[in-house]
């Protein structure tokens, strides 16, 4: 029997599109409407791990095992660890995050999420400067100037421009694309840049300089700006600042071009200051282009449960937060972690080589629906149902709006929550709590 699920939510990127129609036939997804190509690919499914697997050492082949064996193995591994790391979480629902934080508390573990190699620096900048932002509908209804800085939504957030920021029409923006000026700032001419009204090409690693020059111009000190800053002609910067100042409503979206290039969080700090200062002339908001559909959710849950958004160390029984010391890569680089659980995130693919080398040496349990680079460094692999497709629950959009994901089909494997609950129970028994 074929059924259609309307208003479904896409569990891929931080746009969290909620207008998807999914066609289900006999508990199998046979069609996806309205989603972008990446979203469609995720919802249709691919590369699933079919059964729990274990191996004695990382050179041997995986053997298929039962959930009971895999969970017992994972619990023993974690219970024996002196400095366990629980990492990932971006592609899981908030209900999973809560279980993860509880497990970290029970074990005195460190819990960190994928923001550490993504928008973690943005969080550090928010500590310094706050975050003048808004929901995406404010951009849709009001923005006449939209800036993409170090972000390339055409590829990374394919429906962002259509739904929220550029092509869509809104209450005060009846003309859609024609009513908006789109500016792209990047080190290379991306496809987003090709569609922009203005492209500002920044020399690699010079974003901080360019923002500082803009702030100088904005505050009436254009005279101190040299003829060219960070590879951008002063003339273009003056024009750019005039455009921003003259906007009725300006939205700035920044991506990893800004957070993960040289100067990292200082870039965001500077960009937030620019945004704040622009509010003396116009309305201006700034927003990180969050990658995974619920990487923002982990930051929210971790903040309300522990007070800190990420990189929380429970070794002292109380939350301790000191990025640079307590983030996943800090621990791996120092070879401090002696066991890791990687869940709903792919450290193997995205961490620096030195971190992955350490992961290859220590016991690793992976909890994930998909086979990925982390699988290759794991000892125990526990497959789970796909959050947002086979499991319902909560996720936070890049603008902090929480949404409830529906279940599209029934899971055939255990869920993250079930697996974490069982591991936690067993860890408590093993630790004699």
């Amino acid at each position: 029997m074929t059924t259609e699920i309307t208003d479904a939510l896409c569990p891929f990127c931080g746009c969290n599109c909620d207008d998807i129609t999914v066609v289900v036939d006999n508990n199998r997804i046979t069609g996806v409407k309205h989603a972008c190509r990446v979203g469609t690919a995720k919802i249709m499914g691919h590369h699933r791990i079919e059964t729990p697997m274990m191996r004695a050492d990382k050179k041997s082949e995986f053997k298929k095992v039962s959930y009971d064996e895999a969970i017992e193995g994972a619990a023993r591994m974690l219970a024996m660890s002196k400095r366990p790391l629980l990492y990932g979480w971006a592609s899981a629902l908030c209900e999973v995050h809560k279980k993860g934080i509880l497990l970290a508390e029970e074990m005195g573990a460190i819990i960190d999420n994928t923001a550490t190699v993504c928008h973690g620096p943005s969080t550090l900048a928010v500590h310094e400067k706050g975050l003048p932002s808004s929901t995406l509908g404010q951009i849709k209804n009001r923005a006449d100037v939209v800036v993409f800085w170090g972000s390339n939504p055409v590829h990374a957030h394919p429906r962002h421009m259509g739904r929220y920021s550029v092509f869509t029409k809104g209450f005060f923006q009846e003309k859609g694309r024609r009513g908006r000026k789109v500016i792209v700032v990047d080190v290379r001419k991306t496809e987003t840049a090709s569609m922009a009204d203005e492209f500002v090409q920044v020399q690699q690693g010079s974003d901080y300089l360019v923002i500082s020059a803009m702030r100088a111009i904005l505050s009436g000190h254009a005279d101190v700006v040299p003829d060219s800053a960070g590879g951008v002609q002063k003339e273009q910067l003056v024009k750019l600042v005039d455009t921003l100042k003259g906007a009725k409503f300006c939205g700035i979206f920044f991506g990893m071009g800004l957070t993960q290039s040289i100067s990292r969080y200082k870039n965001i700090d500077n960009a937030i200051s620019l945004t704040t200062e622009l509010n003396s002339f116009t309305k201006c908001v700034i927003m990180p282009m969050r990658g995974h559909y619920n990487v923002a959710g982990f930051g929210q849950v971790c903040s309300w449960e522990t007070g800190f958004a990420t990189a929380v160390d429970f070794a002292r029984g109380a939350p301790y937060y000191n990025p640079g010391e307590t983030a996943a890569n800090d621990l791996l680089m120092r070879k401090e972690t002696d066991a890791a659980m990687i869940i709903a995130g792919d450290a193997g693919a995205h961490f620096p080589a030195d971190s992955v080398r350490h992961l290859a040496k220590i016991p690793v349990v992976q909890i994930d629906p998909y086979w990925n680079a982390t699988t290759e460094v794991s000892n125990i692999v526990i497959p789970v149902a796909v959050c947002g497709i086979e499991v319902e629950g909560t996720a936070y959009r890049m603008d902090g709006v929480s949404l409830r994901y529906r279940k599209m089909i029934e899971p055939t494997l255990s869920t993250d929550v079930e697996v974490l609950e069982r591991i936690t129970e067993r860890v408590k028994e093993l630790r004699g709590v």
């Binding site: 500590h127 706050g130 409503f249 509010n279 849950v301 449960e305 007070g307 902090g400």
Partner: protein
């Protein structure tokens, strides 16, 4: 399960008990007339017994509270406590984590707390946090003051549609009542502007704050909601704003209450009883507000008392937060919500030697001490705007002791003597007044007096015992003891269960979430929904089907029925 509290000095104003030695009987989570001889017994030994504390205005959950945590790790690092066998870890001072919220309220003897503002679109987030706050009962007020549908229906003078929208909005947000913050200003902040008074016209919507407030009060009564409109006045944070506040209070005369309570609750008066024309001639006009309250019976207020030290300001009043950030050179978070409202978060440090802060400190106290009837001024700090709620015992001690106030005044900027009335006020409140301001009055203002705020039979068995024997203490002199006792309840009992003993958490049951299900005729909802569907099709960034808070986010609901069928034509 039965429990008997013997030998308490009970303060239960609504039942006329003013410190008399009375026994309180509890069975199955409710207060009853008597229990069997097999009941467990707590001997209060003459100590003060009151109903569990009720807080009608505190920012405990939701998007802006969490933004406060995210942007303030330096605050989270204060008040850190490791987990115990019973409790989860605690963090934070002005923006505690969810567990600390519940534990710390319970440790002060509070058992019911209302979050003061949630946008409908972000209500799911509010409830996610409320669900995790242990022990206390709670609820959240829903923002309606700058919502596009509100302004459309006000402009159309269509109170039927507005009533239907409010009822639907409360359902969609699982909200408890109408919160109205800087009405009209939230929309204008969308383009970086603000209203400057009750009669400014909001561009594109052609309505005034005055019309919005009056219309919301009317539908509030049409729907017979338990609570009244809860207003954060226009011009908050600007010298001279007491005039706007008084003018807003006068609007209550245009509407008749349909329940035994106020028509309008004006909140955190410390921030909107300001005289003067600038920061130079800034002065307190709390006496004017108190004078108004002494001559009216349809408006209530709360203090929003300032506490010296660190605070985190957070409000749906977006423009005031930008002004604060600019003035203080502080970090600034802004969180405008499409079609609904604005918001902002800015840290602040209130210093005794800053004249403005010293004068503001006096304002809340003046309001409470110059207003004769304690039912009209609730005790709040507008947590964490005036300061964190853990300082309520400090406020209680200040209200009960002129000596303490005079000692404090000596440490403050001298202008507190010239620009406020506080040095000359000798009134000292008694335990009965405190019970009103923290229990009965709050419950009455919220419309929950049936089951909250008192110790009569049928009421929820929420109560607190404080380590004070009234006839052995002079609160005026021994104010430090008062503060210490109210900080750390000897017992807090929630729903008949002992949750705090000697200031320590002993159990962490889940609290309930109050929300109001107000009915309007279906056809009226259907007409209103045509407008709502249009807005979702064209302007919202999410689909209508995904908008409302689902039942999964309110696992212990306490639904208050309201509404009117047929709704009377207004």
């Amino acid at each position: 399960m039965e429990l008997l509290i013997k030998n308490g000095s009970v303060y239960d104003p609504v039942n006329g008990i003013k410190g008399d030695r009375t026994d309180i009987s509890i069975r199955d989570g409710k207060i009853v007339d008597k229990v069997s001889s097999s009941a467990s017994v707590i001997d209060a030994g003459g100590r003060v017994v009151m109903a569990g504390g009720v807080d009608a205005h505190s920012h405990i959950a939701g998007a802006k509270v969490n933004m406060g945590r995210i942007m303030r790790p330096e605050d989270t690092r204060l008040g850190i406590k490791p987990r115990t066998k019973i409790t989860r870890p605690c963090t934070g001072y002005t923006v505690p984590n969810v567990y600390a919220m519940g534990y710390r309220y319970a440790q002060m003897g509070y058992t019911t707390v209302f979050e003061a503002a949630q946008a409908i679109m972000k209500a799911r987030h509010t409830h996610e946090e409320l669900e995790e706050i242990p022990i206390i009962d709670k609820g959240a007020l829903t923002l309606f003051g700058s919502n596009w549908p509100t302004m459309d229906f006000v402009r159309e003078k269509n109170m039927d549609k507005l009533a239907a929208y409010v009822a639907w909005g409360l359902l969609a947000s699982r909200g408890f009542g109408i919160k109205c913050v800087n009405p009209g200003g939230g929309e204008m902040w969308g383009f970086g502007k603000n209203v400057t008074g009750l009669d400014d016209v909001v561009p594109n919507f052609e309505v005034t704050p005055r019309e919005i407030i009056v219309s919301l009060m009317k539908v509030n009564e049409t729907l017979k909601l338990p609570h009244s409109v809860h207003l954060h006045c226009n011009n908050l944070g600007k010298p001279g704003n007491y005039r706007t506040t008084l003018a807003s209070m006068e609007l209550a005369d245009q509407v008749r209450a349909r329940k035994d309570r106020q028509v309008l609750h004006v909140t955190h008066v410390t921030f909107n009883c300001w005289g003067g024309t600038n920061w130079g001639d800034f002065e307190s006009k709390a006496d004017e507000i108190a004078n108004y309250l002494n001559n009216c019976d349809n408006v209530t207020t709360d203090m929003g008392q300032l506490i010296f030290g660190s605070a985190t300001t957070m409000t749906a009043d977006g423009p005031v937060q930008y002004a604060n950030a600019k003035l203080l050179h502080a970090k600034w978070a802004n969180g405008d919500v499409e079609l609904e409202d604005a918001s902002g978060v800015v840290p602040i440090f209130y210093a005794k030697q800053v004249s403005i802060h010293a004068i503001m400190w006096a304002m809340g106290l003046e309001l409470a001490l110059l207003t004769k009837d304690p039912y009209k001024v609730l005790l709040t700090t507008d947590h964490p705007n005036g300061g964190p709620f853990v300082n309520y015992p400090e406020v209680i001690a200040l209200l009960m002791s002129n000596k303490k106030r005079q000692e404090e005044i000596k440490t403050l900027h001298a202008l507190v003597n010239d620009r406020t009335k506080i040095p000359g006020i000798t009134r000292e409140l008694d335990f009965n007044d405190i019970a009103v301001m923290t229990r009965v009055g709050t419950a009455k203002v919220l419309g929950l007096l049936d089951t909250k705020g008192h110790l009569g039979a049928g009421s929820d068995a929420d109560l607190s015992i404080y380590d004070i024997i009234p006839d052995q203490i002079d609160p005026s002199i021994e104010h430090a003891k008062i503060k210490s006792a109210f900080s750390s309840a000897a017992y807090t009992i929630k729903g008949g269960e002992i949750v705090v003993k000697d200031g320590e958490i002993t159990a962490t049951p889940a609290g309930r979430t109050y929300w109001v299900d107000a009915t309007v005729p279906e056809e009226q909802t259907e007409i209103m929904m045509k407008d709502i569907r249009h807005k979702f099709k064209n302007y919202y960034s999410m689909n209508l089907a995904n908008y409302a808070v689902q039942d999964e986010y309110v696992t212990h609901p306490e639904v208050i029925k309201a509404g009117a069928i047929p709704v009377e034509v207004s």
